[in-house]
């Protein structure tokens, strides 16, 4: 591969704009008993920027994996047609960069052109290939960054390099999975300029996965919405859809009936949530939702549990001591924490279930010995949560993700806590477990515990919370939404994000 231009000219491609690069018709895919895709239609056309929307678990990522050929569909038609005949190359750029941090930019780009992993081209040759690739989309970067290590690039520069690399292999379809999640506003604008150029001048078909309404409107031509494994809206021009329509089409429609509006009126105020610019009274048994782009909620959570360096959020009030200085201090003060990032922040994989469940009690009650009564304690908790396990001495890895998540809740269940902090507790769990989670959260709140709950799914927050604290995409708090003013549009507007 020495030339970057494919065998067809731009004129030829644009002369036939109707012919799609990727066509999905009635694609179905199951994993075991779970039907993820139940008949998806999707079309990528050259020169078009296509927004792909859908709530968590709607099937977006599965669909992308079908398009890239990573997995095979159970039924339906997948038709790939390059502009010059043959299969078009499809490239995906994920949120996490796929560059090798210790190699230079030039080497990273040249890598995919080497005939085998051992035949890394000489620096000069690598630079030539890389410069050709990069100068097409960012001449400035091509001049300045070729010999920098990929690990030293900013997130934005890394993405540009990845896009350039993908295009240099002749990719005609570019799938971007939430590419702006970690970008600043200025970087996002730069990226959009590049993407628009690619679509307009080079006829690349671009698929843009994002939750951010403003960005979608800024960038995209058409919009496809996936809901529950099916195509709800197929390639509708973006101008024809209102924000409300998009939210409605994405939403598992809100289940909350008027009578179900979560209320905790009349409960005494027991604490004040204090942030850098905000002070807000919190009633006993409040379920406080945190919504919006991850930066804001993540910051609140790490502050409340005494983790991390900059802890500028805390609960104050009668009976609340100083802000916790460590998670250990937080547990001692009666603050529990449940993370949906089970693998790194939750489960102790090498330890039996019983140790996993009882660890919090051992910390909180300063137990000196591992007691005989812990066996029945653990069995009781597992029974209460309907966790099916062979034995309390099995490792947690023998359980499903949903059951592992319940173990993490079991740690705090029945303890006299002032507050439990949940961090995306329903991430990657099945719908049944989600319902159980909701019940547990309600139960904890009814017992008087304050529940702080961050979810990226606005729908579940709207269904359960008494109040929601919304953050914008820059991580700044935008204000509290009380239960009687809940609605998806209002929340989407405050957070700048759909779903």
């Amino acid at each position: 591969m020495t030339s970057l231009s494919s065998s067809t000219t731009l004129a030829e491609r644009q002369s036939n704009p109707q012919r799609p690069l990727v066509t999905l018709r009635g694609i179905q895919k199951s994993f075991g008993p779970t039907h993820v895709l139940k008949g998806v239609n999707f079309t990528v056309r050259p020169g078009q920027i296509h927004a792909l929307l859908g709530g968590n678990g709607a099937g977006k990522s599965t669909m992308i994996r079908v398009i890239t050929g990573e997995i095979r569909a159970n039924a339906g038609d997948l038709h790939l047609q390059a502009s010059h005949g043959g299969d078009p190359k499809v490239a995906v750029v994920y949120q996490e960069l796929a560059l090798i941090p210790d190699l230079t930019v030039a080497e990273n780009i040249a890598l995919v052109h080497a005939p085998s992993g051992f035949a890394l081209k000489r620096q000069a040759q690598a630079a030539l290939i890389a410069e050709e690739a990069l100068s097409l989309i960012d001449p400035h970067l091509a001049r300045t960054a070729l010999f920098r290590k990929a690990g030293d690039l900013s997130m934005h520069e890394g993405q540009i390099v990845e896009i350039a690399r993908a295009l240099s292999t002749g990719a005609e379809v570019l799938l971007l999975d939430e590419p702006t999640a970690n970008l600043t506003a200025a970087e996002t604008e730069q990226l959009f300029a590049v993407l628009k150029g690619l679509a307009k001048d080079k006829g690349i078909g671009i698929v843009f996965v994002s939750h951010r309404m403003k960005e979608i409107r800024q960038l995209c031509d058409v919009c496809t919405i996936i809901r529950d494994g099916k195509t709800a809206i197929d390639a509708r021009p973006i101008g024809m859809l209102t924000d409300a329509a998009i939210i409605q089409e994405m939403g598992q429609p809100a289940h909350r009936a008027e009578a179900q509006i979560a209320r905790n009126d009349g409960q005494p105020v027991v604490a004040t949530l204090t942030g850098p610019t905000i002070q807000h009274p919190i009633q006993r048994g409040t379920i406080l939702g945190l919504a919006g782009a991850p930066e804001g909620p993540a910051h609140v959570i790490s502050s409340l549990i005494g983790h991390g360096r900059h802890r500028d959020w805390c609960m104050t009030g009668d009976g609340w001591g100083n802000a916790p200085t460590s998670p250990r201090d937080a547990v001692a003060q009666g603050i529990g924490f449940v993370s949906g990032d089970r693998a790194t922040k939750g489960v102790l994989a090498q330890l039996p279930i019983i140790d996993n469940v009882l660890a919090s009690r051992r910390v909180r009650e300063r137990r000196l010995f591992v007691g005989q009564n812990e066996r029945s304690e653990c069995a009781g908790l597992m029974q209460a949560l309907k966790v099916k396990a062979g034995s309390a001495w099995d490792r947690p890895g023998t359980l499903s993700g949903g059951n592992q998540q319940k173990l993490l809740v079991a740690r705090w269940l029945g303890l006299p806590l002032k507050m439990v902090v949940f961090e995306e507790p329903t991430r990657g769990v099945d719908i049944g477990t989600k319902r159980d989670m909701y019940a547990l959260i309600r139960q904890m709140a009814e017992e008087g515990t304050i529940v702080v709950w961050w979810s990226t799914e606005n729908v579940e927050l709207l269904e359960l919370c008494h109040e929601i604290l919304a953050f914008d995409t820059e991580g700044q708090p935008k204000g509290f939404l009380p239960a009687d003013r809940f609605d998806e549009d209002a929340l989407a507007e405050l957070t700048g994000m759909a779903a």
């Binding site: 937080a330 090498q350 660890a359 051992r362 000196l368 653990c378 597992m382 062979g390 806590l417 139960q443």
Partner: protein, 330 residues
């Protein structure tokens, strides 16, 4: 603020899940190693009947004792997912310091305390650099390995020192409990205490929690730094104790006496079923691993194989042990 939930059914004692696993399944790996040790001993006995004599058992126990004690020490570090490369050097330095102290008129008991102090100090340095400075355990203990190793020469300028205190041999070979030599007694006491701590004491469980996932453990309120620090101090102090025991047996201290022991102690722990990634391992396993290494060395000697082969045979034994462990997991 609120009381314990009354919706919990804690009456789960009749549930079979509440029954702890039997001793047999808990110590599956350990039983396999014990079986292997017996097979090796019988195999050696077929060539050399004297191998199965009481006298040879005593030989094996005496030779194994320092290794057993070091292995129990380093086990804690390995469970937390760390490594301690300094134990061999600390072993040597302890012997040199204690022997030199006695040569300068200090009584045996005080000299031993000074020797143990060497272990505590080096363990504290390792622990502080790992937990407070956040350096990699491999690098930290490589540094103290080098420093303690060189100090062991500096103490006497490289000369070996004989033990001056007349009754010092009693520390190793005497019998505090009638009928049991001290070197066996120490091994048994340390084994029982450590196994109890690791299984039944909350602080003991933290070693596994830290080794399994230090982030998850930290967020859960486990005192991660304190646990890690304790592991390094314990490891180093046990190495010092082993050094004193050997000094009391040989009655002579050399600057390089512990040089080969560090790798053997790590090998013993690994044979005993611990993972170098942390989170697993048991005291019984570590002791059996140390015994196995000693039995193999003893057998190679008795059969009359050139002792240069010892390392190869030990290596083979480690390979077999970890393969068995690898494939008996699932």
């Amino acid at each position: 603020m609120n009381s314990t939930s009354n919706t919990l059914d804690t009456n789960g004692t009749t549930d079979t899940r509440a029954k702890p696993p039997s001793v047999l399944s808990t110590y599956r790996t350990e039983l396999a190693i014990a079986g292997a040790i017996i097979v090796i001993m019988l195999g050696v006995g077929a060539f050399v009947p004297a191998a199965l004599s009481l006298g040879n058992f005593a030989n094996i126990a005496q030779a194994a004792a320092p290794l057993v004690i070091m292995a129990l020490g380093i086990l804690l570090v390995i469970i937390t997912g760390g490594i301690d490369l300094s134990v061999g050097s600390v072993f040597s330095l302890t012997g040199m310091v204690a022997a030199s102290a006695m040569a300068n008129g200090v009584d045996g008991f005080t000299a031993s305390l000074i020797g143990l102090g060497v272990g505590v100090v080096f363990g504290a340095i390792n622990g502080a650099l790992v937990t407070l400075a956040g350096l990699a355990p491999f690098v930290v203990t490589l540094i103290t390995y080098a420093v303690a190793g060189s100090l062991a020469f500096i103490v006497t300028n490289g000369r070996s020192v004989g033990v001056a205190a007349p009754n010092y041999w009693l520390f190793n070979s005497g019998s505090l409990v009638p009928g049991i030599a001290n070197y066996v007694l120490f091994c048994i006491i340390f084994l029982i205490c450590l196994e109890f701590v690791l299984r039944k004491v909350t602080f003991g469980r933290w070693f596994y929690a830290v080794g399994s996932s230090s982030t998850a453990a930290h967020l859960l309120g486990v005192p991660v730094k304190r646990t890690r620090f304790a592991a390094y101090v314990f490891s180093s102090t046990m190495a010092s104790f082993a050094g004193l025991l050997t000094l009391s047996y040989i009655l002579n201290a050399e600057s390089t006496s512990g040089a080969s022991l560090m790798l053997q102690a790590i090998a013993a722990v690994v044979i005993g079923g611990a993972s170098l990634f942390g989170g697993t391992g048991s005291a019984v396993g570590a002791v059996l691993g140390a015994l196995m290494i000693t039995v193999i060395q003893n057998g190679v000697n008795l059969i009359g194989i050139n002792s240069f082969w010892q390392g190869s045979v030990t290596g083979l034994a480690i390979l077999v042990a970890v393969l068995i462990d690898r494939f008996s997991q699932k």
